[in-house]
């Protein structure tokens, strides 16, 4: 692989998008460096997915300047596999190189599904389907990976496994990624930088300096988590069911 020059993979400035009278993105500036993973957080309807679709080239009506690499791939919340193509053919969709078959095999092996290439998508579980969707993205060796709540439809245990898988694949491929998520823990675990979208603007950009190997009990995790939840306007006191304490608690 050619050495990557330092610099930016994504440069977006003044991105605006409105649906009718509703302005969803009101001048968003966003940059992503080479190999950098940026998590984009925000409440439902804050425009996270809209911004991702613009970067993916799926939105023709946005204004502003957007510079993204030609080599990019998207993982959606739903796997979006073609039900009439076998798993391997789904992964190889649109791959035109001669070694497509061997690349498909290694992409499937990387996500732990080396033996399911001949299966139909309908025969896979939700977690497996999403792994195939990730293999379909990675076989393109993208400089930029766009992920729209990729693990949002999975159960909690599967989600943990997929987050670990994402870490491994990232170390292996060194792609830059925009990860749209509403899972604060996931964002802190996986990203180098956190961005919070609110009212059509990026209201905060936070570097995560917890090191490359982190867990929810890494020092500093909880502080960051609380800060993010406050930005998202979610009360972070936790859950209480002690009646005595609740009565004394300020409202």
């Amino acid at each position: 692989m050619a050495a990557r020059s330092s610099g930016l993979v994504v440069e977006a400035a003044g991105v605006r998008r409105s649906f009718g009278d509703t302005v969803v993105l009101d001048g968003v500036d966003l940059t992503i460096g080479h190999g950098e993973v940026v998590a984009l957080l925000g409440a439902s309807g804050s425009g996270k997915s809209t911004l991702l679709r613009i970067l993916a080239g799926l939105d023709d009506e946005a204004t502003g300047t957007v510079k993204v690499p030609e080599s990019r791939a998207v993982v959606f919340q739903e796997h979006r596999l073609l039900p009439w193509k076998r798993v391997a053919d789904n992964v190889a969709l649109g791959v035109r190189s001669k070694d497509a078959a061997s690349r498909t095999a290694s992409a499937l092996a990387e996500v732990g599904l080396a033996d399911r290439g001949r299966a139909w998508p309908a025969e896979l579980s939700g977690g497996q389907s999403q792994r195939v969707a990730i293999a379909r993205a990675l076989i393109r060796e993208p400089e930029l990976l766009l992920m729209d709540e990729p693990f949002g439809a999975l159960d909690a245990l599967n989600r943990l496994k997929m987050q670990a898988l994402f870490g491994r694949l990232r170390a292996l491929h060194g792609f830059a990624a925009l990860l749209v998520t509403h899972d604060v823990d996931e964002a802190i675990l996986l990203a180098d930088r956190l961005m919070v979208l609110d009212g059509g603007h990026i209201i905060e950009s936070i570097e995560v300096d917890l090191g490359r190997s982190r867990a929810v009990d890494t020092p500093g995790f909880a502080t960051l988590r609380r800060k993010l939840l406050t930005l998202l306007r979610v009360p972070a006191e936790g859950v209480a069911w002690d009646a005595e304490e609740l009565r004394g608690a300020p409202r």
Binding site: A56, G57, L58, A73, V74, F76, E78, R80, L82, P83, W84, K85, R86, L93, G94, A119, W120, P121, A122, E123, R136, R140
Partner: protein
């Protein structure tokens, strides 16, 4: 007794009753010939080649009509389903024409085309056209837009998206259309062949009526039924092969 065998009981009993009633003289043979007479007629007409020739005539009309009507429907349905301009230009007149009962067009078609081959082929083509057009159109329109979008992010061009996403996605609906077209095509053929002319199973039946050969009329009906059954079977086999990916869906 197995369920399959039990389900055969009533048809067999009815056949036996029919034969018995004819032999006992309850059923006058010029109104309804007994099954044995129908079988005998089948044997006789097969032996002298009349049945085979008529069958070939009917089949040729059916295939020709289905191919012409089906191709036209496929092309127009695809144009209307895939292109917005095509939708605006093609769909309204087709939807209006659909309201005309095509078998009611027979008098007009006789004026235009006479009573020869072209009338029969046109009727079959008309019968096959609408089910295939409507189901092609609906199949294309019913494609999950999210799949098309995913294919776009995989770098597929418009044509490749049509080939890999739209066509396979519309195929189940298309198959339904073809099955309905077969049914409508046979029906049109039956009607068309009774409008005089030469050759074909329908002609055989009309001719037999003039000579009060009721057994040949019944035989003609049976042949039509068997043709319909065979075409449906063939279609279902094709469907099972081409839509094998759905087996997984049904199992889960």
């Amino acid at each position: 007794m197995s369920a399959r065998l039990r389900r055969l009981t009533t048809p067999v009993v009815l056949l036996v009753l029919w034969e018995g009633a004819a032999r006992a003289g309850v059923l006058p043979p010029d109104k309804l010939s007994p099954p044995s007479a129908v079988l005998e007629a089948a044997w006789r007409l097969s032996a002298d080649g009349t049945l085979g020739g008529s069958l070939l005539d009917s089949l040729r009309r059916a295939v020709l009509g289905l191919v012409i009507g089906g191709t036209l429907a496929l092309v127009l349905g695809a144009v209307a389903g895939l292109l917005r301009l095509g939708d605006d230009l093609v769909d309204p007149p087709v939807q209006m024409a659909r309201m005309l009962p095509h078998l009611g067009l027979v008098p007009l078609l006789i004026i235009w085309l006479g009573i020869g081959e072209s009338l029969k082929v046109t009727l079959v083509a008309l019968g096959a056209f609408f089910p295939i057009y409507l189901n092609t159109y609906a199949g294309i329109r019913g494609i999950d837009e999210r799949l098309v979008e995913a294919a776009r992010t995989c770098g597929l061009t418009w044509l490749e998206r049509v080939r890999h996403v739209v066509l396979p996605g519309a195929l189940p609906s298309l198959f339904l259309g073809v099955r309905l077209a077969f049914a409508a095509g046979w029906l049109s053929l039956v009607v068309g062949e009774q409008v005089n002319g030469e050759g074909g199973i329908g002609f055989l039946m009309m001719e037999a009526r003039e000579f009060s050969q009721t057994e040949v009329v019944v035989l003609g009906l049976l042949v039509y039924a068997v043709l319909g059954l065979l075409s449906d079977l063939a279609l279902r086999m094709g469907e099972r092969r081409l839509l094998s990916w759905r087996r997984g869906l049904r199992a889960s």
